[in-house]
Each structure stands twice: as structure tokens, then as C-alpha cells.
């Protein structure tokens, strides 16, 4: 029964480069990460907020977890300053270069090490990977159902009544706990960190779990545990033999229509 117990909620977050400050290197065809400030993946803020809302209604505890390099600790502290109760950083040199399959292995091992869980919340996707695969993949490893693209949550006596919005329509879905949800931005408006929360975030001991704590072999994680490989990246650029039209607006318009006519287009 949802009502009868305090929910144990796990929220998965990822630290991502701030999209506004990302640069691309045309020579190497890669993203210049150093140029980018790091933030919590925007969708994950909505997953956190969904957790806070449910905790307010039902009581419970929110544990936020993140796999990443040591600096991902900042993202966890920010989540605590917003209101998360506990946090765990999943960090190990071996985790670097993980694809979504290897990532879900680490996240699942961490969640299974927690005292218990009723609900796992994730953002619909991360803005850097843009795969939307980790949420459902993680649900599979935890052996629980997943519902994606959730933009409304209602609570019933023994289940959650969810609205999910798809590219071509909308479903209302009833699901028993435990379940994993991935949330849309339209679900809620994330809160800002509170002063009290910031103080708490400063002093909270946040454990770091690596392969040893999670009982994983390094070969199951990171690049070694990932079946997919990126064999090539290119910076996209579209070149055009461009002509900027000049003169007054009417002259520009006339010049354009002349050219379109020459193309047989007007």
C-alpha cells in the first residue's frame, strides 16, 4: 500500500556540460569538454522535484545517486541542497567510457545495495548522450517495470496513475510499485536550493562507491564493459555557396525572386 508506508525513492542524476558553453573542435571532430561548465542534466531536476513532491504527500526518503568522475560530487551536493536526504557518488576509474549498458550495470548494483526502494526516478534523457536508454535499461536490470515520458503523477490506494505523453498521443497508465519512471520537463517546476539545504549539503558525508563496494569486476564496467564503440566523430558543418542580397528590402526581395525564377521556383 502506498499510503501505509514511507516511500523509498531513488533519483538518478547525471552531471553534464552546460549546453551554453560547449565548444567543438573541427580538427579532431570532438567536443571540447574543458570549455564547458558542468550542471545537473536539466531533465533530472524534474525527476528530483517529482521525488520531493511525492515525499511531501506520503513521507519517505530520497536518495540521489550519480555515476561520474569525482567532480560529479558537486551535482550530488546541489541535489542535497534542493532537498535530497542522502546521496551516493558512483565513481571509479574503471567506470570511464561506459555506454548505456555498462552504466545501467553500475546504477543497478548501487540501487540493490541500498536498504530498499519503491520508486526510481530518472530524467527522460540526458542532454549530452541523448539516448533515453538508461532509464528503461536500468528498470530491466532491477526487474521492475518502467514508464517513460511521464508528465503527470496521481496517487491511488495501491498504485500510481500516470500520464505519459508520446510524440503522437497520450496514455493514462496504472502501475503498481516498485516502478521506474522517466519524467518530462512538463511534469513540474524544479525548486531552487534552500539556504538550509545548502548548509546541509556542505556538511553531509557523501559516500563514494566503486567496483569494490558494488561487487563489480572492472571488466563489467566502463569502456571494458561496453559492447558499443564510437569509431568516428565529425563536427557537422553545412557549407553553402551563399549569396547575401543587398540593397533596400524591396531590392533584396526582387533580387531573390529573380533568382528563384531562374531556378524555376517562383
Amino acid at each position: 500500500m502506498i499510503e501505509a508506508k514511507r516511500l523509498q525513492i531513488v533519483v538518478c542524476i547525471k552531471q553534464v556540460p552546460d549546453a551554453k558553453s560547449v565548444r567543438f573542435d573541427k580538427e579532431t571532430g570532438t567536443l571540447v569538454r574543458e570549455s564547458a561548465a558542468a550542471v545537473i542534466n536539466p531533465y533530472d531536476l524534474h525527476a528530483l522535484e517529482a521525488g520531493f513532491g511525492l515525499r511531501e504527500k506520503l513521507g519517505g526518503e530520497i536518495t540521489v545517486i550519480s555515476m561520474g568522475p569525482p567532480q560529479a560530487m558537486d551535482a550530488l551536493r546541489e541535489a542535497v541542497s534542493m532537498g535530497a536526504d542522502n546521496a551516493v557518488l558512483l565513481s571509479d576509474r574503471a567506470f570511464a567510457g561506459a555506454d548505456t549498458l555498462a552504466t545501467t550495470r553500475v546504477l543497478a548494483a548501487a540501487i540493490n545495495r541500498l536498504p530498499g526502494f519503491d520508486l526510481v526516478l530518472c530524467g527522460k534523457l540526458t542532454v549530452d548522450g541523448d539516448t533515453a536508454q538508461v532509464g528503461p535499461g536500468l528498470a530491466c536490470r532491477l526487474n521492475i517495470p518502467s514508464i517513460t515520458c511521464v508528465n503527470h503523477i496521481d496517487l491511488e490506494k495501491e498504485a500510481m496513475l500516470l500520464t505519459r505523453t508520446y510524440d503522437d498521443g497520450q496514455d493514462v497508465v496504472k502501475v503498481k510499485l516498485p516502478v521506474l519512471l522517466t519524467v518530462n520537463k512538463s511534469l513540474n517546476t524544479p525548486r531552487l536550493p534552500s539556504f538550509k539545504g545548502k548548509m546541509r549539503a556542505k556538511s553531509l558525508q557523501i559516500p563514494v562507491w566503486g567496483c569494490a563496494e558494488l561487487g563489480l569486476e572492472p571488466a563489467e564496467t566502463g569502456l571494458a564493459g561496453s559492447p558499443t564503440r564510437v569509431i568516428k566523430t565529425e563536427v557537422v558543418s553545412f557549407e553553402a555557396k551563399k549569396e547575401m542580397l543587398t540593397g533596400t528590402v524591396q531590392e533584396q526581395v526582387n533580387a531573390l525572386l529573380e533568382r528563384l525564377k531562374a531556378h524555376g521556383m517562383a
Partner: protein
């Protein structure tokens, strides 16, 4: 020695007992890849009252169709669809599984891939077979389209990918093509689920607006300004026999229908002529217009990125350009 994985599978999404357009795109592409790889194309169709779709799947390139036809499959259920595809893949061992990168595909295909402990590439826009070893080359945009990455899953089988709708070319259906249809009995275990679909509403438009096929497109961007300008732009479009499209900010605000959104998260277009009014040229949008033959940009900001890829650029205020264009087009008409 374990049995070798063979065949290219396509999960065919359906809507009201009809195949969605991305399913036809995937079958067309899969049969091109299968030819190169020397293997067969298989369509997987799950639904209720869908037997008639087998013929259509064959006409678009399927050599074999696995049909799972059961009333419980009339609406999409993440658990059930995961169980069916996972079990069939374990049983028949395909080499490749493709699905549309639609919200339904993205909801359950990652669960299938995880169950099979294999790799999955999301939102591909190009697929090919590597000559030397038959590995599937999967190309996808990254970082909102600023990077293009090619990804392989060389060691694990099946190789799995979701592909963006509206990108791959649909073949002409061949109604004389023959294929094998296998009706798979729905296993009761597959139907065990904690998910109950209470209601399901689908918008009428299934992505088949004229935009994708249009010869000319007038696109409305954030810089369009007033509603009066929008009306004028529609008039210009009518005079040029062009379809109207929009960038994401415009459909997000509800000024134009979501089905008219052009770009990575909407329709990819290949018109002869594209005219953008007040379009800045953000990467997710320009990915969808890059195949236009002639690109015209009207924007008062000379630094707008769209000018970089435009055939003709007008650094001017749409408030002035639209009336001037209308006048000129009507005067000549």
C-alpha cells in the same frame, strides 16, 4: 559452438491496425542492408487484428513476418512488448534488430537490449554494413547535431539500433513480392505485467503531413513577430505553392501544430526550395533542412547561423520583407 545469428529484424510499430511510416522506412532500409549482407529481412508485428499487415510488410521488403496477434496487444504495454521481443530474439537469434526511435520504441527497446546484454544505439540517422566483417555501422547525431558519431557493436549480437522517423528512404512497395508469415502463439507468460493501460489517445496526424514530401517549404521561426506576419507568411507560401513548417519554439508555443515542426525532433524535409522567416538556424532545426536544394534565410540578425548554410540571405526585418514579397509575387502573378 553456438548457433550463428542471422537475419535483420525490424520491429514494426502499428497504429490502429496500420503500419506507421517509420516501419515502412525501416523495412525498406533493412532489405537494402540484407542484400548487402546476404541475409533475410524479418518484420515483427505485435498487435490485435493485424494479420493483414503481413502482406504490407512483405511488399516493403520483409522475407519473413513474425506475427503476434492477441487482443491484449491492442495498446502498447512496455512490459509485454519487452517480453515478446526478448523471447523471440533469444529463440531465433537475429544478427540485427532495428526499431523506430519513437517514444514507444525508446520506451522498450532499451529493456530488450539490456535483457540480451547487447549494445544499442539510439536515434540513428544512417545505417550501413561494413564490407570486411559485416558489422552494422550506426550513425547518429550527438550534441544536438553538432557532432555526427559512427558507432559499432562488433562483439555482441544482436546489434541493435533505433532510427529516427522520416530519415530513411521508403522503397516503392512491390505487391507481388512473396514472403513467409509465421503466426506466433501468444505465450501467457508474456502477458504478465504490473502495467495497466487505462486509456490511450492518439492524435490523428501520424506524421504523414505533406511537409516531408513538399517541393517548397516556408518555415516560420521565432523571429516571425506578430500573428499578422504569420498570416502573411502563409499567403506567401500559398503563392509559391509551398507547405508551411515551423521551428520548435513556434510549435512549443502552440502558434503552429507540432506536426509542422521541422528538424531533428520533427520532420526532415527535402524540398527544392526552403525559405525561413525569422529562423535563426539552431542545429536541431538545420539538420532537418540540410537537404533542401535552395535555402533562403530572412533574418534581421546578420550573425544568425542559418546564413552560413543559405543559398541566398536577406539581412532584413520580416515585418518589411513579407509585405514586399507579397506585393512582388502578386504583381507578377
Amino acid at each position: 559452438m553456438t548457433q550463428k545469428n542471422t537475419g535483420i529484424w525490424v520491429w514494426c510499430e502499428t497504429h490502429e491496425n496500420a503500419m506507421t511510416s517509420v516501419s515502412r522506412e525501416l523495412l525498406s532500409e533493412a532489405s537494402r542492408l540484407a542484400l548487402k549482407r546476404g541475409t533475410v529481412t524479418c518484420a515483427l508485428i505485435f498487435g490485435s487484428d493485424i494479420a493483414l499487415l503481413a502482406k504490407e510488410a512483405v511488399s516493403f521488403g520483409a522475407d519473413r513476418v513474425y506475427l503476434v496477434d492477441h487482443p491484449a496487444l491492442s495498446s502498447f504495454n512496455d512490459d509485454i512488448f519487452t517480453a515478446i521481443l526478448t523471447d523471440l530474439a533469444r529463440q531465433y537469434r537475429p544478427e540485427i534488430i532495428l526499431a523506430g526511435a519513437t517514444d514507444r520504441g525508446l520506451a522498450f527497446i532499451p529493456r530488450v537490449a539490456t535483457s540480451l546484454e547487447t549494445g544499442l544505439t539510439a536515434n540513428c540517422i544512417g545505417l550501413d554494413i561494413r564490407e570486411e566483417d559485416g558489422v552494422l555501422l550506426q550513425t547518429r547525431p550527438a550534441w544536438e547535431g553538432n557532432l555526427m558519431a559512427t558507432i559499432v557493436c562488433a562483439e555482441q549480437k544482436p546489434q541493435m539500433a533505433t532510427v529516427r522517423p522520416g530519415v530513411l528512404k521508403v522503397s516503392e512497395p512491390d505487391h507481388l513480392r512473396q514472403g513467409e508469415v509465421i503466426s506466433v502463439e501468444c505465450n501467457q507468460e508474456w502477458l504478465t505485467t504490473n502495467i495497466e493501460i487505462i486509456s490511450s489517445s492518439r492524435s490523428i496526424n501520424t506524421g504523414s503531413s505533406n511537409l516531408a514530401e513538399a517541393e517548397a517549404v516556408v518555415c516560420i521561426g521565432r523571429g516571425i513577430g506578430s500573428g499578422k506576419n504569420l498570416e502573411m507568411a502563409k499567403e506567401v507560401a500559398a503563392l509559391l505553392h509551398a507547405e508551411i513548417g515551423a521551428t520548435r519554439p513556434i510549435t512549443d508555443e502552440g502558434l503552429l501544430d507540432k506536426a509542422l515542426q521541422i528538424g531533428q525532433t520533427g520532420v526532415n524535409i527535402t524540398p527544392r526550395l526552403y525559405i525561413g522567416f525569422g529562423v535563426s538556424g539552431a542545429m536541431p532545426h538545420v539538420i532537418g533542412i540540410k537537404n533542401a536544394e535552395v535555402i533562403v534565410a530572412v533574418n534581421k540578425d546578420p550573425k544568425a547561423p542559418i546564413f552560413e548554410m543559405s543559398t541566398y540571405g536577406l539581412v532584413a526585418d520580416v515585418n518589411e520583407v513579407l509585405p514586399a514579397m507579397l506585393k512582388a509575387l502578386k504583381g507578377e502573378g
